[in-house]
Assembly symmetry: C3
């Protein structure tokens, strides 16, 4: 079960080239992404309605997609406009999906397309802004349900333990719980840790002295379906505040997105922008590689959880205070899924009386 009426990240814009027929499974549905003659990204189900052949094995013909099995042609709206072996054109179509290209990501709406409001897509301006620099195209594939990864992103008390040399910092970082606020579309987590050790990756780049203690902030929204938007950074303790940052403060803006592929696998998109050393590609690479190292540390742990879950699928987890955010988020997701089910039932009911 997935939330359907929301925007999911489907791909980095680079992944769908001008001539590509790019296939990616999202919410258990095979989807074909391609660009029309105006370079606009289009999405339709990657499954011909005739014999279920993948349309991504076909080709583009005049802003339409031709299935390579029996030659059926579907236009941008999914309507079948040609069937070579038929005397009469069959009334057939394939499903299309609203897609929006914005801030380097391609977003897709898998639910009721009447509700697909592009204004609901979060503004990840730092992926396109001259004041911010990063290495794009961060992408990992996970053979687990997306909520197990969301759990990880909703509780950063794991940082000093799992990522001691990269994102980590000192153990006291774990003992400061974030302030968690629940909104309709997700959670806000605010965590400020004063007078703590700087994490490995910032020591490296900010130029702080080895013994410099820092005030470190991590403020982020975690939005349904699973979009993390973070403002984080630090400055030497005693030199300023979050509101009035000193000149040698360093800031990061991160956007991360989990998109279920199936109930048991997930696409993970991420990028980490900074406000310093903007033109230094070596810094971009170093930060990216640090992220990859840390995310692989996460992955090893999460795959271990998954293995234990598969050995005993009904064994319960036990909640701690650190689980406040992730428990609330799972509750929000459940609530939204149930609301969508009720809407669907009502819709069917209304259609029947009309």
């Amino acid at each position: 079960m997935f939330v359907k009426n929301c925007w999911y990240v489907a791909a980095w814009t680079d992944e769908v080239g001008a001539e590509d027929l790019f296939s990616r499974t999202i919410l258990n549905t095979p989807v074909l992404f391609w660009r029309d003659s105006e370079h606009i990204v289009r999405a339709m189900i990657d499954r011909c309605c005739h014999r279920l052949a993948p349309l991504s094995l076909g080709k583009k013909v005049n802003d339409c997609i031709q299935c390579n099995y029996h030659g059926l042609i579907f236009d941008k709206n999914g309507q079948c406009i040609s069937a070579p072996a038929q005397t009469r054109l069959p009334k057939m179509s394939v499903q299309t999906f609203p897609v929006v290209e914005k801030n380097q990501w391609i977003w897709i709406w898998m639910g009721d397309e009447n509700l697909a409001d592009p204004n609901l897509i979060p503004d990840i301006f730092w992926y396109d802004h001259p004041d911010w620099a990063y290495k794009p195209n961060g992408h990992m594939h996970y053979p687990v349900n997306y909520l197990l990864i969301a759990d990880n992103l909703l509780d950063f008390s794991h940082l000093p333990f799992l990522h001691p040399t990269t994102l980590g910092g000192s153990p006291d970082y774990a003992s400061v719980l974030p302030k968690v606020t629940r909104n309709d579309d997700g959670l806000r987590l605010e965590k400020m840790v004063n007078n703590t050790e700087a994490p490995g990756y910032s020591k490296q780049h900010a130029g702080y002295d080895e013994n410099t203690k820092v005030d470190r902030w991590m403020y982020y929204d975690f939005l349904i379906p699973s979009i993390l938007l973070m403002d984080a950074g630090m400055y030497p303790t005693g030199t300023g505040s979050y509101e009035e940052k000193p000149a040698n403060a360093i800031s990061f803006k991160s956007a991360q997105a989990l998109t279920p592929e199936t109930e048991h696998s997930t696409h993970y998109f991420f990028g980490q922008a900074r406000d310093f050393a903007l033109d230094d590609h070596a810094v971009s690479d170093a930060i990216y590689n640090g992220i990859i190292q840390a995310f692989n540390e996460d992955k090893e742990m999460i795959l271990g959880q998954q293995r234990n879950i598969m050995l005993n699928p009904s064994h319960p987890m036990k909640a701690l205070s650190v689980d406040s955010a992730l428990s609330q988020f799972r509750w929000l997701i459940d609530k939204k899924i149930k609301a969508e089910q009720v809407e669907t039932t009502q819709q069917i009911y209304t259609e029947n009386i009309v």
Copy 2:
């Protein structure tokens, strides 16, 4: 569910050498094939009745098969004739199956052996006839149910799309629907396309001019369980007819057979004979390689269908006119399976009253 009372192709004769204990799973049943001292192919279940060990790990002993686990010996009829550790010979046997070696293929009957009439085996004389040449031993393994491959073979409107450089020809080829006739044991498809482009593989071999248009025929029977017997060919348009072929007509005779391994996997046997350049092995190789290329194009598409089916097993296909033959064939198969079930029930009932 499979049709049981019919002949399935089990192997090319070459696959079962004089000393081999050859194992192949057919209709979910492990079968051991071997040759007795008169070089006659025998088939018995590849599963000792004692502890279910594969007999193919054993050895031949005087026209019998000895299990290599506990030494039980079974004769050609499956009867246990020796049990080393027993004082009294146990009344035990393993199932044997009627097999017939004919025209380079080994055929097996998996149903009621009283019904196994060798005269029901189709005559594929061109595999053994001096007027025809081909490269034998065509065999592919497919991880899908056999009906998905039968669909492909029952609708050649896909040729110009999926096989443009090999079997294909021009798109007009797709628009001529075959005449489909239903018989008790399968379908007959007759397709004659006049004044069309010659497919890649024939341009190469027939010596026609690049611009020569041809009349192209493809007449075939598709018999239960899934045996395709085809007479196909072409001649330059305006130089003759199917009945009165000109000297530079080229003809092919093809036999292809699908044999279910399990509900989800299939053996595919095939050979394509020609009536020209009979002694030229390079032509045999070129035609064989073209077939393999085309069949791999089919395989990529069929595996794509399979992947889509597995993502959403209950999603329906939508029928077009081109699906007439394959819809009828699936109907014939269903009918035959149901008839066999009724026969089995009646048999049990009759045995009980007698």
Copy 3:
């Protein structure tokens, strides 16, 4: 379903080094093995009670185990003694298991720990005794249920067929059935074959003439859950008896243990000690390699059985006289599992009335 209240072999002592966090799944349960500061082996479930992370990805801290995900620390008794992000220590614990290190093997008790009597562990003194020599650490992993391997070990009539060049001997060896005695904790099998051919491995090492016939004994206990303890050997026929062995008799003592990993996979531990050529490592290696060769012959056969079982899971086996021991053993196992279920039910009932 497994017998729970008994000692299983978990590992060779060498497998758990002083600094290791060694993970092995036993009876479908992930278990962490480690050594405390006194070098004593400890076992706890390899699954943090919080979010089910593997504790084996954590580290040792002062004779405790710290989970590397959120830093929880568990002491030797499984009690949580530290939770970095909590203001109040949560009442939490992870399951620990009784373990005993004895005669080179680490034994674990997966059932009711009040019943875990170390005196129930069999005495495999020859793994530690100066009169016996062997190469240790024999271990194979099997993707089948353990009972299929137990079947193999409970019927040595397969030796001359499956292991003709190693353990085998002549076919007459198969025709002498062992005397089988049933006890509460397993079976005793006694087999003495007089005037038979010496098996390959002993011809090689005992220095007997090629044509020497031997009297060969194989006496063993096969104990629940699946522990084989064997006394075997031979001497030239006519030179003595089992009770009064001649000087050139050779003896072996073998211990083999099957430990279920899951319902469909098994750990197999084994070692074969001898009473001759004690200081000759080449003989240790040769015997070990012969065992490995023979056990691979077993494995090929057992995997073949498994494949046949998976094709038709409900197909029955047919019993012969040689199956007496293995049928009785399966019966004993079933009886013990049922008894444990009754005990558990009674316990729950008693606890409820008190």
